[in-house]
Symmetry: C2
């Protein structure tokens, strides 16, 4: 097992090496784009027939036999079948996620200003939303909760889940989470074809307005291509963590934190910043030891060797501009007093403060959303929230007097822009 | 001049005809997509050299001669050169837009819950934003204000404007608006190549994090393709207005309102809902009369004939579900009491209430943003706001006691999901 990249910020070649790390793209290739375009066209043209054929191809089952929808009873039975420990864990998670997201509900405004103009804005939920839930390795009940609960908190009336069921097999944990989260429909379709069905609609599956949820490269590309036909959450890339840690941490703890991202996928990335060479070595050793005993060791080991990095800085605060350039999905500040760093860092999806806040606690039960911007997109985008399932309508009302006060400026500007009908529509009302 | 589509909701064929109207796509074709892909690749590979060559091709001037940037002094001179009437109109607009958008600034949260978990979220501005301003017919100073002011209100430190200057000619109104809005850099580049420069950066133009602003089909497609490399505002299609009007309106007023969208572009769409056939006829006549005298009559006439519609309903409230299906960019409720309709309508970008609120007053001086979702996207997206230039970072802090309280549920869920390093990173801290 080769080790990860080791960089020292005092090295004269550091700037170039760090830029290479920042700009390394771990996203999927162009072939996917062509495949997805073809699948979207096919579903749009052939509807349910395309879904049935593609499901037979990819998931090896016949939807007319296994059933297109998972009946509500099966979700309820899955919930009843959970062990008491797991059921209370999911319920705690659901409650905490709901509580956190309730605070995100936006406030409407409606007021009249000094000119007599009434103006404001009003938020409302989209009519219908779709949540994609992967099958196979990444079939996570936590992901169901994190996508479905904000939609329901927003007030979405029709919440549709799509999920592939390879060879017809459902995942009871996912179904139980759907039941707890209040999902209204569960369809046994996955891949780019499921995203197409949600966006365009088919005879069976009515279209939705917003599609969220993680997926493989085909699913992500389908969402990207359908952006504008439907709303989507940010296009997701491989998961990432940056840990800023001093030498007073237990190296085993930090190693586990780095591996909690690395175990997701070989393309995941874990980066440690520290100010102590000996501590860096201890963490590197601990990572290798843990990889050897983890059931997910092979994936984690590949991720760590290919994409991991340990970066030595003279002072932990020196990591600040470097972290901002990485704009990581997850940032752990494993120091006694994280406040000075926290106050200054600008770009990160979510920040985990102090030695007792491993990133994984945020993945499940803390409350904030675990759907977060990856691939440096925390520079400009945010984690999933209630707002992703709502839209804002602005409004305006002039009295005759208010229009007389602000209308002439509109007439002047419309004239200057060469838009006479704009000018006329205001001017014609000014004499009344 | 042929008239617009006339529909009567009581006609048995109405449902099909209305569905055709709703689903008619007035968006650009697939050739544009290939052209844009090639331009983006070229700018990414060749940087400024590609910008210079494409500008010579499309805009017919040599950037090394005319200058890449418009100097600040030229913007200041443009502002000084405005007529007093126009200057005070732009300043009134800027002030009102700033006031409205200041209210959109989001509030951070930071609290500790009963379990002892500190959690919250913090909003911050993106570092840099780019605003596209079209040249030629659609070079609108109001558009500069509507895009640039929200960015500055958000706190964006570096605000870059790109705008084509055909044959080197700048538009003084646009430059004056840039000066008033606080734009930091103005570059003489346009088209898909300008969007590529903003997203990827070149030697001269540093990259930005968010790109907004209207443009032709190439610009819109470039934004769509670069979504994810940068943040963008919603992909914009042709402008639209729906007017709901009773017979007590002056037909000339309503005609002017319909034409204020139609004059933008032949692909624009204006739709009238009314409950009175005679009134519908009067509006149709007034529209044709106004088209004959408007300087923009040719464009407006084509738009009205090709995309316009007058829809008769038995009761104006019957228009409600039809308007929601159209989810128009602009909705005017030209009735004495708009409240019952306003209370129930779900999908519209912006709503103009009552007889004295022509849509054009919102285009310029009212305060709310005129960058609004088109093409039925008001079902899931919102007008441009301060939030488009900001992002939210969530954060979390556990004490040892708080982690003992919620951590075991995270361990249980991580175990159930088959992610042992996630479980370990929490479990390893529970004994301390």
């Amino acid at each position: 097992m080769s080790g990860p990249l080791r960089l020292d910020a005092s090295d004269p070649r550091f700037a170039d090496a760090f830029t290479t790390l920042v700009e390394a793209r771990r996203e999927s290739d162009d072939d996917v784009s062509r495949d997805v375009t073809a699948i979207l066209k096919r579903v749009r043209a052939e509807g349910d027939a395309a879904l049935a054929a593609l499901t037979l191809d990819f998931d090896k089952h016949d939807l007319d036999t296994t059933g297109w929808r998972v009946p509500r009873e099966e979700c309820q039975a899955a919930l009843e079948g959970l062990s008491p420990e797991l059921r209370s864990a999911i319920e705690l998670a659901a409650t905490r996620i709901r509580t956190f997201h309730l605070k995100q509900k936006p406030v409407d405004s409606d007021s009249t200003d000094d000119a007599g103009v009434r103006l404001g804005s009003r938020w409302s939920a989209v009519d219908a939303a779709g949540v994609y839930v992967p099958g196979g390795r990444a079939a996570y009940p936590s992901s169901v909760l994190m996508n479905a609960i904000p939609a329901k908190v927003a007030g979405v009336e029709r919440l549709v889940m799509v999920t592939p069921t390879p060879r017809g097999e459902t995942n009871p944990l996912v179904l139980a989470a759907a039941e707890i989260a209040g999902v209204d429909e569960v369809w046994r379709v996955g891949g780019a074809q499921a995203i197409a069905a949600l966006a365009y609609g088919t005879d069976r599956i009515k279209p939705v307005d917003v599609v969220t949820g993680p997926g493989n490269a085909w699913v992500a590309e389908a969402k990207r291509q359908l952006y504008g036909v439907v709303g989507i959450d940010m296009v997701a890339g491989p998961s990432e963590i940056v840990v800023v840690a001093d030498a007073d941490n237990d190296p085993e703890w930090i190693a586990a934190d780095l591996l909690s991202q690395a175990e997701h996928d070989p393309t995941s990335q874990s980066i440690l910043f520290t100010d102590d060479t000996a501590f860096a070595d201890k963490v590197a050793d601990a990572v290798l030891r843990q990889i050897n005993v983890l059931a997910t060791g092979e994936t984690a080991g590949t991720s760590w060797a290919d994409n991991g990095a340990i970066i030595l800085v003279a002072d932990l605060m020196d990591a600040l501009p470097l972290v901002d350039r990485l704009a990581p999905e997850h940032l752990e500040l494993a120091v006694a007093d994280p406040e000075p760093f926290f106050a200054k860092v600008r770009h990160a999806g979510s920040i985990f403060l102090g030695r007792y806040t491993p990133e994984a606690v945020g993945d499940y039960v803390a409350g904030p959303n675990h759907v977060l911007p990856t691939g440096r997109r925390a520079r400009f985008s945010s984690g999933l929230s209630v707002l992703d399932f709502m839209k804002r309508t602005s409004f305006l009302q002039c009295t005759p007097a208010a229009l007389r006060q602000i209308g002439p400026a509109a007439v002047a500007l419309a004239g200057a822009e060469g838009l006479p009908a704009h000018a006329l529509s205001v001017a014609i009302r000014l004499d009344h």
